[in-house]
């Protein structure tokens, strides 16, 4: 295994971590807002806040980790994406700031107003939309080279069906992942009303999610044939991913073992996410940038990997403790304890 592959694997694993934990977070915010809008906040709000409150900062760090890692392992990619993504990423930062502000002012600061709940809920949809644009751009065709550097063609990006399909996939996936997780969490909390509602949301979002996912593969053929062929080459990973999806759907439908359903969902998304990532190889940005020509020097790569292993040694036990105290603590999950400062 080359250093380039180790580097991108590490980052891709962390990005996957972000996709899962952030989806839960974004979707939960949206469901919270939606149920408030429908006058059903009594069903969901408590359960959602109980899960989200202690972990949201950790969610954010996954993202920071990913982009700092890109700068470290693939500095040239930082240059290309940095130059072209000023506007979409700035918008994402502002939206992330709205979420942070919600935690600061509403959750911790007790500044309560429905307006904030709606604003917070909507950012849960806009952030995945704005971040998923990066994946669209990476497919090539939206960046042209001028003499002073790469430039993003906004018009082309806006009118491309691929853009909107990926946005749609990010939205449906966020809601679906979140709904399945919250079904399981509410079930653990012995909150039947919330379990039933989340299960319903999960079943409703499952179908559009899988349809858009399939649709994107088809669209890729006309947008980027090279990538399309590599995707098809990995058909077995997508097939396996689809089977796991059917498993989750079946279990939810039958109201059985929500924990397993969540496990299958994570399996489903990891397979699809990695199949996508592998098929993207060797390009970081079609057709300008590959892993190899944007990679850092050997000394830095080695240092980063050593730091990464040492860091994991510190993080994994800490994350275990966090989950142990909040996700797997019966009294906390059931809402019998609060213990907030």
């Amino acid at each position: 295994m080359t250093l380039e592959i180790i580097g991108i694997s590490v980052l891709w694993i962390f990005l996957f971590g972000y996709v899962i934990v952030a989806s839960i977070d974004f979707g939960a915010g949206f469901f919270n807002a939606y149920s408030t809008f429908r006058g059903k906040e009594h069903i969901l709000t408590r359960i959602i806040q109980r899960y989200l409150s202690p972990v949201w900062e950790v969610t954010n760090v996954f993202l920071v980790f990913f982009f700092v890692g890109i700068v470290g392992f693939f500095p040239k990619a930082a240059f290309y994406y940095g130059t072209t993504l000023l506007v979409p990423v700035s918008i994402a930062i502002i939206l992330l700031a709205v979420r942070g502000a919600y935690y600061a002012f509403t959750t911790y600061g007790k500044l309560r107003h429905k307006r904030y709940v709606y604003l917070y809920g909507l950012t849960g949809l806009f952030i995945p939309a704005s971040l998923s644009i990066v994946l669209t751009i990476s497919e090539g065709g939206f960046i042209r080279m001028e003499e002073w550097g790469p430039v993003l063609d906004y018009g082309m990006l806006f009118f491309s069906p691929l853009t909107w399909s990926i946005v749609l996939l990010s939205l449906t996936a966020v809601l679906y992942i979140s709904a399945v997780f919250l079904t399981w969490y509410a079930h653990k909390a012995k909150d039947e009303a919330a379990t039933n509602l989340m299960r319903l949301y999960a079943l409703i979002t499952a179908v559009p999610m899988i349809l858009t996912a399939a649709g994107i593969i088809v669209e890729m053929r006309s947008h980027n044939i090279e990538h399309y062929e590599r995707l098809i080459h990995l058909w077995w990973m997508f097939a396996l991913s689809f089977l796991l999806f059917m498993g989750t759907f079946y279990l939810l439908w039958k109201k059985k073992s929500y924990g397993t359903a969540l496990g299958l969902l994570i399996g489903q998304f990891s397979l699809a996410f990695f199949a996508y990532g592998i098929s993207h190889y060797p390009y970081l940005l079609y057709p300008y940038l590959t892993l190899y020509d944007s990679f850092t020097n050997t000394a830095m790569a080695t240092a980063l990997i050593i730091a990464f292993i040492a860091g994991l040694g510190l993080l994994i036990p800490s994350l275990y403790l966090l989950l142990h105290l909040f996700l797997f603590n019966k009294e906390y999950v059931e809402g019998k304890r609060n213990d907030y400062v």
């Binding site: 202690p54 972990v55 900062e57 950790v58 954010n60 760090v61 920071v64 982009f67 700092v68 890692g69 700068v71 470290g72 693939f74 500095p75 930082a78 240059f79 290309y80 994406y81 940095g82 072209t84 993504l85 000023l86 506007v87 990423v89 700035s90 930062i93 502002i94 992330l96 700031a97 942070g100 502000a101 935690y103 600061a104 002012f105 911790y108 600061g109 007790k110 500044l111 003499e147 002073w148 550097g149 850092t296 020097n297 000394a299 830095m300 240092a303 980063l304 730091a307 860091g311 510190l314 993080l315 800490s318 403790l321 966090l322 105290l325 909040f326 609060n338 213990d339 907030y340 400062v341």
Partner: protein, 449 residues
């Protein structure tokens, strides 16, 4: 290379804005965990509920600032690549290691902060809960250490060679431990601890001025002023070492900050004054002081601005930033020292209204000093983004939309700034310490001490 002058200008303004805003929350984020730790530890040791409550109430306010700090920290983290892509490509090759480690430190801090906040009454043994704070404080301090290492590298780059325009012989460890690190890192840490102690002292002084006579505030004031005194002295001493570092490695920054125009020995230190056609007027000149600051010898020669080409020296207004920083530093040491001696000797004016007003000013003044210090550091490095290697104007993005982003972020920071102040005031205005103790039926707790 083509330079988009407008993009350079707006990139600078946006970065200045983001950093100036972020540094307030970052400083609080680095320093407060230590204060909470000290208070909680004293509370457990002395079995004094007031100190426990002190820790608890500080922690409650602290979360608000951390949450905003996370947001602004993410913003600056991304803006580095968005606004300075050429610099980040170069920096990625040489100094990415501490940047990467910083995310681990913050990760560590975020995890334990979440746990600490939500397990306040969960453990029978209070010490167990206290232990959770240690990784928070360590994570917070190390975040500062790693980020300051990156900034040090920008001032004193090393650990690589440039051959025919190519980077060679890259050594990330050597780059990390560059000569600016010892003074810069320790100055950032001690000044953060000092600032946080004085901010908390200001709050206690405010409550006393508003008429509360509760012993809780007196305990808070005495504790924070003592911590503030220690760290303000430490900051001043390290500031002196920083002068020696600059004289050796960045003489143009020192010369500009001190308005030291001609290279000479027995150099005086210039405070305040104005510059009129390269002539310093109305300034206080402390004989030999600059030679002592730079080289620990009253006769030592100090390199002046005459040794550098005009287009490679920073703007001379940084002298006033230096003045502001040093003046505030002196005031804080002095007030804290008088307070401490006065408390021991039982001088009555320590308790007077005007002295409380003076203490109240220390918090805001310390934050101003932090701002002045960072501006001095950043503007004092100009025109370089990476001293001697890359100019700021060559590092910026070529994008045409930076001005629009500047407007967006200005709006964001206004909302966040006002929001955090409003929320913090709301949080504590009604829920005074008297109220909180009454709610818990514990009015007498801790009074026996």
């Amino acid at each position: 290379m083509m330079v988009n002058e407008e993009a350079v200008f707006y990139s600078r303004v946006l970065t200045e804005l983001t950093l100036s805003f972020h540094i307030i929350y970052a400083t609080i984020g680095v320093g407060i965990p230590l204060m909470i730790m000290i208070a909680q530890w004293i509370g457990i040791k002395k079995n004094d509920y007031h100190y426990i409550l002190l820790a608890r109430r500080w922690a409650r306010g602290y979360v608000i600032t951390v949450a905003v700090g996370v947001v602004t920290g993410t913003a600056i983290g991304l803006q580095l690549s968005l606004l300075w892509p050429n610099f980040m490509e170069l920096a990625g090759h040489i100094i990415a290691l501490p940047l990467f480690m910083e995310t681990f430190a913050f990760f560590f801090e975020a995890i334990f902060l979440g746990i600490y906040l939500y397990t306040w009454d969960r453990f029978e043994n209070q010490k167990k809960h206290f232990m959770l704070l240690i990784p928070v404080a360590i994570g917070a301090s190390f975040s500062a250490v790693f980020i300051t290492i990156v900034n040090s590298f920008m001032n004193a780059p090393q650990g690589f060679d440039i051959k025919d325009g190519q980077l060679v012989n890259i050594n990330p460890i050597l780059a990390m431990f560059n000569p600016a690190v010892p003074t810069k890192v320790s100055h950032v840490l001690t000044s953060a601890f000092m600032t946080c102690a004085f901010v908390l002292a200001s709050i206690a002084a405010y409550r006393l001025l508003r008429g509360s006579r509760h012993v809780y505030h007196k305990k808070a004031l005495f504790l924070t002023m003592k911590i503030g005194l220690i760290f303000s002295i430490a900051t001043a001493v390290i500031g002196d070492f920083s002068g020696k570092f600059l004289a050796e490695y960045q003489p143009e920054k020192l010369a500009a900050a001190e308005w030291h125009l001609e290279t000479e020995g027995k150099a005086p230190l210039i405070l305040y004054g104005i510059l009129d056609n390269d002539e310093v007027k109305y300034a206080i000149k402390i004989p030999f002081a600059l030679s002592i600051l730079a080289h620990s010898s009253p006769t030592a020669e100090v390199i002046g601005l005459d040794q550098f080409p005009k287009d490679e020296t920073p703007p001379l207004y940084i002298h006033y930033l230096f003045d502001a920083m040093v003046t505030i530093g002196m005031i804080t040491v002095l007030v804290a020292l008088i307070y401490w001696i006065g408390t021991v000797k039982k001088w009555s004016f320590i308790l007077s209204k005007w002295f409380n007003w003076l203490i109240l000013l220390l918090g805001p003044l310390s934050i101003l000093a932090i701002e002045a210090g960072w501006w001095l550091d950043e503007v004092g490095r100009q025109p370089w983004i990476l001293r001697g290697i890359m100019k700021t104007s060559h590092a910026a993005t070529t994008s045409g939309q930076v001005d629009l982003m500047l407007l967006l972020f200005t709006g964001l920071y206004i909302v966040l700034g006002i929001g955090s102040i409003v929320v913090l005031i709301r949080m504590f205005r009604k829920n005074t310490i008297e109220q909180e103790l009454a709610d818990q039926g514990l009015e007498k707790a801790g009074e026996h001490l």
